[in-house]
Amino acid sequence: MIRNIPQTKTYSRGFRLYVILYFVFLFAPLVVTCILAFNDSMFPSLPWKGFTLEWFTGNTMEMTGIFNDQINLDSIWVSFKVAFFVSLLSTFVGTMGAFLFEQENFPFKQLLFFLMLAPLVIPGVILGISILLFSNTLGLFFETHFGLDVGLFRPGFWLVVLGQFSFITTIVTLIVSARLKKFDHTLEEAALSLGATRFETIVHITLKFLRPAILGAMAVAFLMSFENFNTTLFLVGSQATLPINLYLQVRDGSTPVINAISVLMIGGTSLLALVNLYFSKQER
């Protein structure tokens, strides 16, 4: 059963075997993807034909490596820009939300709290299409009533940002709220009774306490945005984000360039995950 209870050999061996199999299951697709990025072959499959870096740096007609593949590079850049704005915007609003639900009291607070949780139970696809519909309705409204053609209301960069922001902010609010719950209110009270204004108190005391959670939430928001597919699918215009672009390539057959991009993504996200882990360790 647990550590300090003696068990039969078969039981503990069986359990360990299960855990090992689970880890194999967990890592097999990622490890294989990474290995095949370095195979000197036109297809992402075995047999092994020798080690190559051509799928990263190659610049020939047959083997265009990722660093010379303009379409994929463009989509990586678009994803970075989207993730940058989404993480900034959602961290700002999400922190406001955490303060609102943890420190303020107002009528219909419970109702607003449930509305804030709603993006957790609305499938991402539905968020995408409903925002697409609503922006289209707004676009029509502005066109017929004011003769204005507002670019924001058409599928494109900013609509993707807003669509991802709409549910990532909920996650940020929950992460920051969890930290704010542990905050010792006597610290704020001390600052206030020593003559600080509420604004000064928040900047110097509360936000300082929340910093690891806010930075951690920002990293999570960045990752979620960078990898989002479901909501983005309906809002994307001519500038495809990386997941959308990869999806189109995987669907229509693939070359090891996708493996090379995967290697970069696995490396990048692991790095960001470690940064996030570092901040959440700091929290304790």
């Binding site: 990622l30 303020e104 709409s166 009774s193």
Partner: protein, 301 residues
């Protein structure tokens, strides 16, 4: 919450923020209200309005329940809907069965030395994009894939078989994609379970089965429910995995929605489908909460 700051501020005389309007509240609530109204509430209302409108014979948009009627009249639509719902429940259950022993092993069995390392290791793959993970499975399982290569090399197969594009593979892919969202709440629920309860049960002669069903699972129920809600919702709304790993005849309901929007350009029909999916997702989650006597507010904590 009540003990908070508002109380203190109102006691201070001559506070510039006190009179009339509570500026703190106004500053905090404005962005939140704008976000929730413009990006959540109004789009959902708009989707509902779109779903109850259709073109009449003259090509004008009028009120109609035709979009919903079509859903029930065309077997392909409601069958896909039912299939998606049943498979999502199955995936949620399988995810729980697979991850529960792992969560238990990490929190209770393995020596504390490896605990931190293992829990980081187990969450690591989920930071990687879902697309990369699905792509990894495609490379492994397809006809020219890695698994077929080894099966033939070792003489277990004569010619490669296609392991992609069937329901079993799709379910495996969906389970793989959503394991994280079950593991995290399970790990934190098990961490809060005092070992002495298990020891006591063991000393009193409880079997593994009775300890699991009468001590461990009841204690973890809030975690199980919150994990199940997220897994169910994400599976139901998944487009990528069923599309890339599922069979060509076995559609997922999100694919029907996508087809209505992007291929047929029938936004009214698509809205009706979207609205039905929303009802299904919130309906089953609500039922799950009622059955286990939990509330959404408690579950997300």
């Amino acid at each position: 919450m009540e003990s908070g700051i508002g109380h203190i501020i109102s006691q201070r005389k001559g506070d510039p923020m006190k009179p009339g309007i509570r500026w703190g509240l106004v500053i905090f609530i404005t962005p939140v209200l704008v976000w929730l109204t413009v990006l959540i509430l109004l789009p959902q209302v708009d989707m509902f309005i779109m779903s109850i409108r259709a073109k009449n014979e003259l090509g004008e948009m009028v009120f109609s329940i035709g979009n919903f009627k079509l859903f029930f009249l065309e077997p392909i639509y409601w069958r896909t809907f039912a299939r998606t719902a049943i498979f999502s429940i199955l995936v949620t259950f399988l995810t729980f069965l697979i991850t529960m022993p792992i969560a238990f092993y990490i929190t209770k069995v393995v020596s504390p030395k490896f605990q931190g390392f293992l829990s980081v290791l187990i969450l690591m793959p989920f930071w990687v994009s879902e697309l990369v993970r699905v792509y990894g499975w495609m490379i492994l399982l397809r006809e020219s894939g890695v698994i077929n290569h080894f099966l033939i090399k070792f003489g277990l197969l004569n010619k490669p078989i296609e392991m992609l594009y069937n329901d079993a593979t799709m379910i495996m892919g969906l389970v793989y994609t959503s394991m994280l969202f079950m593991l995290v709440p399970l790990l934190s629920a098990l961490e809060s379970l005092d070992n002495s309860f298990i020891e006591a049960a063991y000393d009193l002669g409880g079997s593994v089965w009775s300890i699991a069903t009468r001590i461990v699972i009841p204690h973890c129920l809030p975690g199980i429910v919150s994990g199940s809600i997220v897994v169910f919702m994400l599976t139901l709304g998944n487009y990528l995995t069923p599309n890339l790993m599922g069979g060509k005849n076995g559609l997922w309901f999100t694919e029907q929605i996508y087809n209505q929007f992007i291929a047929s350009f029938n936004w009214n029909q698509g809205s009706a489908f979207g609205f039905l999916l929303l009802i299904l997702s919130s309906g089953i989650i609500w039922m799950g909460l009622k059955l286990t006597k939990q509330t959404l507010g408690k579950v997300v904590q």
